[in-house]
Amino acid sequence: MYKIILAFRYLLKRRISYFALFAVALCVFVVLVVMTVLSSLTADFKEKTHRITGDCVISSRSLAGFPYYEDFLKTLEKQDIVEAVSPVIKSYAIVKTPQNEQTLKIVGIDPCSHNRTTGFSDFLYYKNFTPLEKVADFNSDGKKTLTGYPDAGSIFTPASDTNMPAVIAGIAVMFDRNSGGKYNAPISLPTTEITITSFPITAKGTLERAGTSVVASKTFVLGNVVQTGCSADWENIYLSFNDAQNLCGLAGEPKRANAIHIKFSKGVDINKGCAKIDSLWREFAGQNKDLAYSNLFKNVSVQNWRDYNRTTIAVAETQQALMIIVFAMIGVITVFIVFVVFYMIVCHKSRDIGILKSVGASNGDLMAVFMVFAFLTGLLGSAIGSLAGWRFLVHINQIEGWLFRHFNFQLWDRTIYAIGDIPNKIDLSVLAIIILSAIAACLLGAFIPSRQAAKTDAVKTLQVNRL
């Protein structure tokens, strides 16, 4: 009991121990705030990327796409592990709006099946459209009856009175952002004509109608904008699957698609599901190797959503790795600070060590006094740091707003980065890890001084004249 009492009194009554407390609290505060913000941003980015992609993607590395995708879709729909599938056309096109002309990714989707696979409609900025699930239910008899993929989604039917089909643009394609991170999107969707000019590719991988007109062009009206928080916002323009297939030259027999996005049933492990799909694809490709243009199968790969978006996710993961390295260094600094403070305390309290030994305390008991002291330092420092971090995170957006108003300072320039409010929700499991790490750092830092305390010669500390 005296170990706890003494450790607690040392902590409260020795001013030098406040330095250790402050160091631990500061480290916990910094780690908690940065981890919460950066991890939430990364997790949010990954979650959105996952949702917009689906669980698994069968895609061709060639703009020529791959044929017989409809047959493979039927195979996929029979699988218990598959909840929804969506064929997708992907290519590049010159997109002309009243404001400018830019090269974008065109993405052809069937809105109903794509929404079932990716939750696409959740990302639509203007919500005044016929709910996609309703359309999907209306067009299907059940879970796996999406045969034919009708171009029935109302999202490509413009609200305005025009005969032109609609497209959905990434929000950053159409609108700028203000300094607060909000897009300057009008309350109701403006009637905007958009002309898409693409380069149709034959199954042989050449430009269609070479030597004459090598481009296909069509004018659409803006039907909605999509805000994903991912690269789709400034890179993509969505149109109906059939229009995209025609514009990209993939509509000729055999019809081709560039990708199939898949959503697995609940509880299916994504890696195992992808392995199963990969095996099915290999089997399918093997069975159809003698058909025309089956050579395009060799360009096809099966990837989980993470690998499919590797180029963008890798950046976020690199940042996370760097963050972990920085935090490890902070941890080392904490250990060092605790070591120095405890070393000084042990030197200062050497007489106490002698007294305790004279009344029968063992070396282990003395070590325990200082280790309990270190534990309490870690615990209390963590509590203070966590509390301060929590209060800071609660007000982080107001603080940033105040800094912006008074000093024109922003953590992330909202006109550049696709970030709205700074995320501030503390992950309790992360908090628990931070607290445990802080306590462990204190115990580690205090270990050598505590051992030194245990080994202190009582006679030396108790006597003025040794003889």
Binding site: M1, R9, R351, G360
Partner: protein
């Protein structure tokens, strides 16, 4: 004739002081009987404190044996030596050596806490507090229980130190210059405490360099050049 409680046989102890080795105890022989009040006197550097520390197992001799109740301390494990210091002997130092972080009452019952686990302590705490308070009352410190050591005078601190030494009812009280840091009157009060304790049967071994103080003891042993001369 009463039985011997401590017996030292052939004690040798030397210290390194730079390149040279200083022999402090040179084959010291000593017997202390139960209930004795013994004063060990000698000039500064004669080895008085070293002898006291060896008798209380705070230090170990280079060679020779210390017997306590006919048991050789050399054969004790570290654990048993800790228990020995906790139960069988009580130290009183010249500079009191109280813990500043604890109040007077806590300082007194500290030995009782040391010998018990947390659970054991909760079962014994009330009893320990009562005994500590009783000892402090006996030494005229009943109104000082919640004071911190730095709030007390030298004499009061030394009485707290004596109370602490007696907390676990040790067989032997080892006092190292207990009046060395006190004025004559206060020192005399402390010696009177020792005399009373001895009358009640407490064995006391006191180290001092002052002949007048030593005269208060029942037997005086003089240490010269690491040996007892009389």
């Amino acid at each position: 004739m009463s039985k011997s409680i401590i017996k030292a046989a052939g004690l040798f102890k030397s210290y390194k002081m730079g390149a040279t080795s200083v022999d402090v105890l040179r084959g010291l022989e000593l017997t202390i009987k139960k209930g004795e009040f013994v004063a060990i006197i000698g000039s500064s550097g004669s080895g008085k404190s070293t002898l006291l520390h060896i008798l209380g197992s705070l230090d170990r001799p280079d060679s020779g044996d210390v017997f306590f109740d006919d048991e050789n301390l050399n054969g004790f494990s570290s654990r048993r030596l800790n228990k020995f210091r906790n139960k069988e002997v009580g130290f009183v130092f010249q500079f009191y050596h109280l813990l500043d972080e604890l109040d007077v009452l806590e300082n007194v019952y500290l030995p009782s806490m040391v010998s018990r686990s947390i659970i054991g302590w909760f079962g014994f705490k009330t009893q320990a507090r009562q005994r500590a308070a009783g000892l402090l009352e006996r030494f005229g410190l009943a109104d000082r229980l919640t004071h911190k050591p730095y709030q007390l005078s030298g004499g009061e601190r030394q009485r707290v130190a004596i109370a602490r030494a007696l907390m676990n009812e040790p067989q032997v009280l080892l006092a190292d210059e207990p009046t060395g840091n006190l004025d004559w009157q206060t020192g005399n009060d402390i010696l009177n405490v020792f005399t009373e304790l001895n009358k009640a049967g407490q064995t006391i071994i006191m180290v001092t360099h002052d002949q007048r103080i030593a005269q208060k003891a029942g037997r005086v042993i003089t240490l010269v050049d690491g040996r007892i001369t009389d």
